[in-house]
């Protein structure tokens, strides 16, 4: 239930005035979306690899960038951004 705990934590901080963004794999999206966290970036990655494959620095950076960009661009609560890129093993 760690996704759920993290969803609670995000909501609490946001209520207290601290902007948050969650980065997670798609598998738990339905449950997390029901909690309405403030901002979520969803990757089409395998569970346990939310940022990308080991040593795929390019993808990891891209996901982190997307999360930070969502912090800048989101104008409303409950913003969920799904990144289209499928999981890839590092070359």
């Amino acid at each position: 239930m760690c996704h759920v705990s993290v969803g609670h934590v995000a909501r609490i901080f946001e209520e207290a005035g601290l902007p948050t963004v969650i980065v997670m794999v798609r598998a738990f999206l339905p449950r997390v979306a029901a909690m309405k966290p403030p901002r979520v970036v969803v990757t089409r990655h395998i569970m346990g690899r939310p940022m990308g494959a080991p040593h795929d620095a390019e993808r990891q950076r891209q996901v982190l960038h997307a999360a930070l960009d969502l912090l800048v661009s989101a104008r409303q609560n409950g913003s969920i951004l799904e990144l289209p890129e499928p999981y890839r093993a590092a070359t």
Binding site: M1, H3, E14, P38, I46
Partner: protein, 162 residues
């Protein structure tokens, strides 16, 4: 191949062990705080629930329930100095490269490149799996962490659940 329905699989597994059905939270609105300054001036902290611990500390108990332990992680720590103990997800790739679940080196690159202002001195690992005690999280653990973030002057928090 059909995708695995993790939520159903988890429900089936825990109910098979004799636990009652988990009461998933459903909220109807989301709180929202806009970013108050440009990213390149923001100080960022990060939290993972992936059971990562620095080798100088006790490892997390991989099968713990309601474990509200929360570790501070030095923002300059080396990714190879961590262990990962969590029976709740497949940790094999995160063990090969911590950045898979806790992108500490990617954060440092963004700070070096000036995309973000700075990284908070303390990052965080905790709120591991199987926390059924929602009120404890809501009323104690999260507010306690909030006070520490305030002390570090954190402008935004990135959360990466495993």
């Amino acid at each position: 191949m059909e995708p695995i329905s993790y939520v159903k699989a988890i429900n089936d597994y825990y109910q098979g062990l004799g636990y009652p059905p988990y009461q998933w939270t459903v909220n109807t609105s989301a709180p929202f705080t806009p970013l108050s300054k440009p990213l390149h001036k923001c100080r960022i902290s990060m939290l993972t629930s992936g059971g990562i611990s620095h080798h100088t500390r006790e490892p997390f108990n991989p099968t713990a329930k309601n474990d509200l332990r929360l570790d501070e992680v030095d923002f300059q720590a080396s990714p190879s100095d961590f262990e990962i103990n969590d029976s709740y997800y497949d940790t094999r790739d995160a063990r090969k490269d911590l950045n898979v679940i806790f992108p500490i080196e990617r954060l440092r690159e963004l700070a070096r490149d000036g995309v973000i202002g700075s990284i908070a001195p303390r990052l965080w690992s905790g709120f591991m799996g199987r926390i059924y005690n929602r009120s404890k999280v809501l009323e104690e653990s999260a507010p306690a962490l909030g006070r520490e973030l305030l002390r570090d002057g954190v402008d935004l928090l990135v959360l990466v659940p495993a």
